[in-house]
């Protein structure tokens, strides 16, 4: 059965260079620099990426950064907590819009 997202398609990511090699190279250089050890460790960056991957719901990124987190030394508990951070921010982001609802409610209500 065919799916919109196929895990092996991640291997074709480099084909994005075909349409614009220059932009692809710039993206790669920037991407590599972002994930290099800096003020944050590579492990911390991989955990952030894993959380963001869940927030943006990118299956390719989830696969890639699950592996990356393990290879940077994170364990299942740490990775699960990172996903909960993403989920909490998504849930909290919905809930905090309740303030908008309440503002408008009060404006309309007697």
């Amino acid at each position: 059965m065919s799916h919109y997202y196929e895990s092996h398609d991640l291997g074709k990511f480099g084909e994005m260079a075909n349409g614009s090699p220059e932009l692809w190279q710039k993206f790669l250089a920037w991407y590599s620099a972002v994930f290099a050890e800096g003020a944050l460790s590579e492990r911390e960056k991989a955990l952030i990426a894993l959380a963001v991957a869940h927030a943006v719901q990118c299956p390719y990124c989830i696969d890639a950064y699950t592996t990356a987190c393990l290879e940077k030394g994170s364990n299942e508990e740490q990775m699960t907590e990172a996903v909960h951070v993403a989920a909490a921010i998504r849930g909290g982001a919905s809930l905090v819009h309740g303030v908008q609802m309440r503002n408008h409610l009060h404006k309309l209500s007697m």
Binding site: R43, T67, L70, E71, K72, G73, N75, E76
Partner: protein
């Protein structure tokens, strides 16, 4: 009751030829030999023999899920006393500085203590690749004292500082036993600064991924083992899982074989080639057959470039400059930071 080995189950994958067929059937863009040539080694050759690594047999009290030996309690392969004598004679007639004893659980071998004593009497460094839980078995409870008296370097397997991951790889209850054994070793001075008794730990990833950076994990293991269990050690070695035997069976069963091999190939690190352990190690099988490393031994890839093939026919000159026998599994030793029995090669 321990799980049966692949050998006991008589599954086709227990046969090294079937394993090699699986590895050679994979689509690999550039062969290991071509990659190594590109790294400045047109032929991968030995550069002396610094370590005589003897695999005394496949018997073990554990059945670890990643074991490239397919070792376990149901294995019967054991090195004969005559072959042990050949190994000790080679040590006596050469200046090979290190004897590395592995298995299975090498301490189960009836000649283990004789090997240790005689090698130490020759002034050689002796390493014992220890699964830790062996030290708790009733007939082996004096082993820590024996190892300490003979100043044997203990290389102990401990994949993680938490029970869940350790038991997932090595079997239920192994973590608790391992910590108890480590405490006994610490009590004798092993892993304690200034004692002269060296205790190194080995971690293999608990799954189909590469090990994290060795220096980073070592700092973390040191902190967590001390904090949680009061355990100390000298060094931590990261070792990449090899697509051989039980780990190969896991890769096939879990649908990870292609992606794992692809990862090993894509992570080829030319900087790891120079320090590959096969270049300075000679591996001896339980029946005396010679190999370039313990992984080649399990795939039954004997030394095959002009040197003698059995320890009784040992000659240092051809073996010290022999060409190394390679196959796709060798990418496991060159991936990322590289991997060897002494840990990462380019951390």
């Amino acid at each position: 009751m321990a799980e049966p080995t692949l050998n006991k189950l008589r599954v086709p994958l227990a046969d090294p030829k079937v394993q090699l067929r699986q590895l050679h059937a994979l689509a690999i863009e550039r062969s290991f030999e071509a990659q190594v040539a590109g790294a400045g080694h047109p032929e991968l050759r030995a550069d002396g023999i610094q370590v005589l690594q003897i695999n005394v047999g496949k018997r073990c009290n554990q059945v670890c899920h990643h074991c490239h030996v397919d070792a376990g309690p149901d294995r019967r392969e054991v090195m004969s006393a005559e072959t042990v004598d050949h190994c000790l004679r080679v040590l006596a007639q050469t200046d090979i500085p290190t004897l590395d004893i592995t298995g299975g659980a090498p301490e189960l071998h009836p000649e283990f203590r004789r090997m240790v004593r005689e090698a130490r009497a020759l002034g050689r460094q002796v390493m014992d690749r220890c699964n830790l839980t062996i030290l708790l078995l009733p007939n082996y409870s004096d082993l820590p004292e024996f190892l300490a008296e003979n100043q044997v370097e203990v290389i102990a397997s401990l994949p993680y500082y938490l029970p869940k991951q350790t038991d997932a790889q090595r079997g239920e209850g192994v973590f608790d036993g391992s910590i108890e054994a480590l405490r006994r070793l610490n009590d004798l001075g092993y892993g304690v600064p200034g004692s002269g008794l060296k205790l190194d730990l080995v971690t293999n990833p608990v799954g189909a991924f590469l090990p994290a950076k060795q220096s980073q994990l070592e700092a973390e293991w040191r902190r967590e083992l001390a904090r949680r269990h009061g355990v100390t050690f000298n060094s931590l070695y990261t070792i990449t899982n090899m697509p051989i035997s039980r780990f190969l069976e896991f890769l096939l069963r879990s649908g990870n074989l292609e992606t794992y091999m692809q990862k090993l190939v894509q992570a080829f690190n030319p900087a790891a080639v120079n320090g590959l352990m096969c270049r300075t190690t000679l591996s001896v099988g339980w029946d005396g057959t010679l190999y370039d490393c313990d992984f080649n031994q399990m795939l039954e890839l004997t030394v095959d470039h002009g040197g003698p093939r059995h320890i009784r026919d040992f000659q240092i000159a051809p073996l010290a400059r022999r060409q190394i026998v390679t196959a796709p599994h060798c990418f496991g030793c060159t991936a990322g930071a590289g991997s060897s029995c002494g840990g990462a090669l380019a951390d």
